[in-house]
């Protein structure tokens, strides 16, 4: 039994070892600059980052794309998740609670490829035809929404589908920490003459806020590593653009796209190094999130993710 438990450590060590081992080539060639260097295209004089043919690799556009799409996803998902959690724990009539919780669980169980399919065939046309033009018109002044992308793919589409995917995690964990707040706290606030929202705000959310932050960070962790859905809608273009409506890429997406057709050992090594970075970052993010959630629920959160 101990051996089985120790296998967890073995797995982590194994992953780390293999990833480090197989990314040696690019590590030795570029070092840490791999993650931020910029090359220049000799013909167009435009910045260039990913040139497998000439073996010039920079992970910058992928890091950028991952961060942009993930934070966009958080921006959309966090208010909705907390709203859902508040509704389910404090406002929902009893008979609805079970079915709604079941639906949330279903959302969490849908495979990423199906999200990707639906996003590509249903969501992207919707965005392209109805949402993106509106965004470009009304929010174009911010510089983040230039509608010159006729496909509807891009960071924004990726952010939206990611938001849908991380919603269930953030929401159910938020519900858990909200339920962990003792009933006596709610009563104390009500007895002072508070409205229901004031009771939720002061008696529940305030007490649970550390755990909620943990839930959000956990959602971030999932968004960072999400592969299939993102790769189908982000456009897979290794460039950096400020506009959220332009094509982009992400760390997980480039690995999924290029790995089986990598042109050289250096190319493979570059992709594996990106995978290594993804591994390290998600480990750290998830560790922080776990600590926060654990601090509030005091023990083992009952979750099968």
């Amino acid at each position: 039994m101990v051996l089985c438990a120790l296998s967890i450590f073995v797995i982590v060590a194994l992953i780390l070892w293999q990833l480090v081992l197989r990314s040696q080539l690019t590590w030795e060639r570029f070092g840490l600059a791999f993650f931020y260097q910029t090359f220049t295209n000799p013909d167009s004089h435009q910045p260039m980052y990913w040139d497998p043919v000439n073996e010039r690799f920079s992970a910058l556009p992928f890091v950028y794309g991952t961060l942009v799409s993930s934070f966009l996803a958080l921006l959309i998902a966090v208010p909705l998740s907390i709203g859902l959690a508040v509704f389910l724990t404090e406002m929902c009539p009893g008979f609805l609670r079970g079915p709604l919780a079941f639906l949330t669980e279903l959302l969490a169980a849908i495979p990423s490829i199906i999200y990707g399919l639906w996003a590509f065939y249903a969501l992207v046309p919707l965005l392209r035809d109805y949402v993106n033009p509106g965004l470009a018109r009304y929010l174009g002044w911010t510089g983040f929404f230039e509608n010159d992308n006729p496909t509807g793919l891009g960071y924004f589409a990726a952010g939206v589908i990611l938001a849908v995917m991380i919603l269930p995690i953030i929401s159910s964990l938020t519900r858990e920490v909200m339920n962990a707040v003792p009933h006596s706290q709610r009563e104390a606030v009500l007895a002072l003459g508070a409205t229901r929202w004031e009771m939720i705000r002061m008696g529940v959310l305030r007490n649970a806020r550390i755990g909620i932050v943990g839930a959000v960070i956990l959602g971030l962790g999932r968004a960072l590593g999400e592969t299939m859905a993102v790769t189908m809608v982000i456009g897979n273009t290794p460039e950096i653009h400020r506009s959220l409506l332009s094509n982009g890429t992400s760390m997980a997406a480039v690995i999924a796209n290029e790995f089986t057709e990598a042109v050289s050992n250096m190319h493979t090594s570059a992709l594996i190094e990106i995978g290594l970075a993804l591994f390290v970052v998600t480990i750290i993010v998830n560790a922080i999130a776990q600590l926060l959630v654990w601090a509030v629920t005091r023990g083992t959160p009952a979750q099968a993710r």
């Binding site: 009893g94 003792p182 006596s184 706290q185 009563e187 104390a188 606030v189 009500l190 007895a191 002072l192 003459g193 508070a194 409205t195 004031e198 002061m202 008696g203 305030r206 007490n207 806020r209």
Partner: protein
């Protein structure tokens, strides 16, 4: 200043459980009234009907009249308004752990929109003095959290929090039952001091406590109010045999 409470034909249910049956009584202003009775007799439910906390339970139901001062609290007012005028202290102290002592006491005021620092400072100090906690915490008002105090101090903090919104009635549901004897006697002294300013209703398991602090006492049994009279009479010469049996310890 406190006000009197009139209760007429009060009935309460938890689902199908008829927890209170035909309660009628008049609680005098600026006095302390004790409610005694064995576990499950309905005294806590009764008190929770006085500030409409009973109905926060989805399967709870109430009929009858409760008039606090001039106000019919079920027909002429909303729960949020009532609860500001009728304060409550619970059996287990429940200060807000994420707030400082100052913020705990000021929480009720802030809910009602008071932001002026000077007003808040003044009310916080007055409330803490009234609950005999000021001297112990005056240097740590903003530094210590509400949960870092001892049990007895936490309960006095909860009393201060309730007093800060200037209620007319103070309901206390077994306020000292989770505390040690020293803290208990401090709370009892407090009730003595406070009753001249507020109307106090205290639920207690402890008959000696009722005898010490309350002018009037009501004895509850199985959801009914068996006897309601001056404390002295209840404890020395009760009219009803059931009261006498309880007092002398034959049950409960």
């Amino acid at each position: 200043m406190g006000v009197g409470i009139e209760v007429k034909d009060l009935n309460a249910w938890y689902g199908t459980n008829h927890t209170l049956q035909d309660i009628n009584l008049h609680i005098p202003a600026n006095h302390a009234t004790a409610l005694i009775g064995p576990s499950g007799c309905g005294k806590s439910t009764f008190v929770r009907c006085l500030n409409r906390m009973h109905e926060t339970n989805p399967i709870a139901r109430v009929t009858g009249l409760v008039r606090i001062g001039e106000l019919d609290i079920y027909n002429d007012a909303k729960p949020v308004q009532i609860r500001r005028r009728v304060g409550m202290v619970f059996q287990r102290p429940n200060p807000f752990p994420t707030m400082s002592i100052y913020d705990n006491v000021a929480s009720g005021l802030k809910l009602n929109g008071f932001r002026n620092r000077r007003v808040l400072d003044e009310v916080v100090e007055r409330s803490l003095r009234d609950s005999a906690l000021w001297d112990e915490v005056k240097d740590d008002l903003r530094k210590k959290s509400g949960a870092s105090l001892s049990g007895g101090q936490q309960q006095r903090l909860c009393i201060a929090r309730a007093l800060a919104v200037d209620p007319e009635v103070l309901l206390m549901d077994e306020p000292a039952s989770a505390l040690d004897p020293v803290s208990t006697s401090k709370i009892e002294d407090l009730i003595f001091e406070l009753k001249s300013q507020y109307t106090i209703v205290i639920v207690t398991h402890n008959m000696q406590q009722a005898a010490r602090v309350a002018e009037k006492t009501g004895f509850f049994l199985n959801g009914r109010m068996v006897e309601f009279d001056s404390t002295h009479k209840i404890f020395t010469n009760p009219s009803d045999k059931r009261t006498e049996d309880y007092i002398t310890g034959r049950f409960g």
